[in-house]
Symmetry: C2
């Protein structure tokens, strides 16, 4: 494969025009029209850090590299519009592998009507994928942010925290065969589905007391909830009283924790990469949000005491630090 | 260093506010205001592919990773507004190295009034940098594109094609010490200066017959000139008659070629990574462009015959293919 072969394959998978693009791929830059402000976010997806080729199919790698970015748009109550792709390819990646990779990425892009505007290709020792995505807040361009919480606000979750963490562990231990016993966990890790429609319904709910706060959970609720509560406000210190019961846990998360002698609720709170949505809203708005998004589950209440309790017991935040020694592939 | 240490250091170097940002770093996405269409481009900058740590200072790596992206904005006649940074860091990179890296990148960002809007951090086996940049066409938001050339148009260059290629070779052979004998070549490879002001003057020249075509030379004139001539037009085939004399070559390029028994003009045409500007304009506009941009040099004439001649002799395009066997660090 040379550069032109790769670009020709890419062109077969990704359309080059979109209502939001004044100019598509093939020049020094694409040109994005922008009637509203644009939410912009970037994520790396690296071999042997975020994924392994021995148990990810190439189409799943393409899917997930884009999904984690689309999830950042969902986290802002925004719909994705376009993305750029930087791709570093090792010598053992052939045209068949790459075609599958593009196919998985293009299917997800199509589902969210999100156009590939360009990017960069290079040789690289290991697969290296960097996506930058942009989108527009679904509620007249206004994004949903972190912070702005008040004591008494209701906390909520959409998605299955803890499930992808089980998937990661069983795939690391048993490889692809783990999917037979742990199908939902493996799917959650291999092919997460960004919750754009749910986020848009949250962003567009009419008549709310206040716009909800929203983020996506990539490092685990234990690490991410303080970020939701803090937002960009330097001085405030809020806490949360969480109620997490057996019913909140996916059956596979519960089974895995029991098998391994772990606390199931701990798995729920520490599990990252589910790309669940975590939010807070005025207490009065919770019922309407639940009606608009049936999968939304109450998680607890914001408090004015700077600690997090789980079912009444104080919890020390841990979760995932990308530079912690010994952490691989999270 | 953990993630929070890195982010704190980053915050010391990069301001978080800018006229073009409605929301800066720290949420799931930044929010970019956009009064005009946005030019968007991305480039990878990878260890042992695009640079080597043994002869690049960390500040130069930070500088060049951003410079190659700013050059894409210049190539569109655009001023950069903001950028996102994906950074994969190997375990042997310490806080001092990273501080120097940020310092080199931040100095260039400041010079071009370009804000860091966010990005992603990860561990990685080798240094991996992916930047996505956006900006606005300096001429009322309208970008300068490739293509649109007509036979008889004047071709021009701003910058020193071939110089960075000499720098790469002497640095690969002799390491950092090469800078004593080949100071300009090494500087061109280690710390290229994107030609934004020159590009803006080209984009904003009043009273032109037609807007010039423009691109930046990253793979060498031999490979990039056909892209300028072709643009996005699938069917047209134009050529060029180039005149390149001794005076067009930087003295170090000429000396190096003579020492190595190479054709100096070949070096001029094959050298990439100088981030020179390559353009075409209506013949009648050339004089005014030269007055507006004194460093601009005529390169020849667009022809209606699909071949490129150099001083009357046909030239077969080669230049740099990122996936050609044996090509490293170009």
């Amino acid at each position: 494969m040379n550069e032109d072969d790769i670009l020709a394959d890419l062109a077969r998978h990704f359309p080059d025009s979109h209502a939001s693009l004044l100019l598509g791929r093939g020049d020094d830059a694409a040109v994005v029209a922008s009637d509203t402000p644009l939410c912009v976010s970037s994520d790396l997806f690296l071999e042997d850090v975020h994924f392994r080729r021995d148990y990810f199919h190439p189409a799943e790698i393409g899917h997930k590299a884009l999904a984690v970015n689309i999830s950042d748009m969902a986290a802002c109550g925004a719909r994705p519009l376009g993305f750029s792709l930087c791709l570093g390819l090792p010598p053992d990646v052939g045209s068949g592998w790459l075609d599958d990779f593009f196919s998985g990425m293009a299917a997800l892009a199509r589902r969210h009507d999100c156009v590939l505007s360009g990017g960069d290709l290079s040789a690289c020792a290991r697969l290296c994928i960097a996506v930058t995505i942009w989108g527009a807040g679904a509620n007249r361009g206004v994004p949903l942010l972190r912070g702005g919480c008040k004591p008494g606000d209701a906390l909520f979750v959409v998605g299955q925290p803890g499930l992808a963490r089980v998937g990661l562990r069983v795939l690391e231990t048993s490889g692809r065969g783990a999917a037979t016993l742990w199908p939902d966990s493996c799917a959650a890790h291999l092919k997460p589905l960004p919750l754009v429609e749910e986020a848009v319904r949250i962003a567009c709910l009419p008549g709310v007391v206040r716009p909800p706060s929203l983020m996506d959970v990539s490092d685990g609720i234990a690490r991410d909830l303080p970020r939701l509560l803090q937002g960009r406000e330097a001085t405030r210190s809020l806490g949360a009283a969480l109620c997490v019961g057996e019913n909140d846990l996916h059956e596979e998360t519960r089974c895995f924790a029991v098998e391994q002698g772990l606390d199931p609720v701990g798995e729920y709170l520490l599990g990252g990469e589910d790309y669940a949505l975590l939010g807070a809203c005025a207490r009065e708005d919770l019922a309407a949000l639940r009606k608009a998004v049936p999968r939304l589950r109450p998680l607890g209440v914001v408090t004015d005491k700077a600690e997090i309790t789980i079912n009444g017991i104080p919890f020390t935040a841990a979760g995932f630090d990308h530079f912690a020694p010994g952490e691989v592939c999270g």
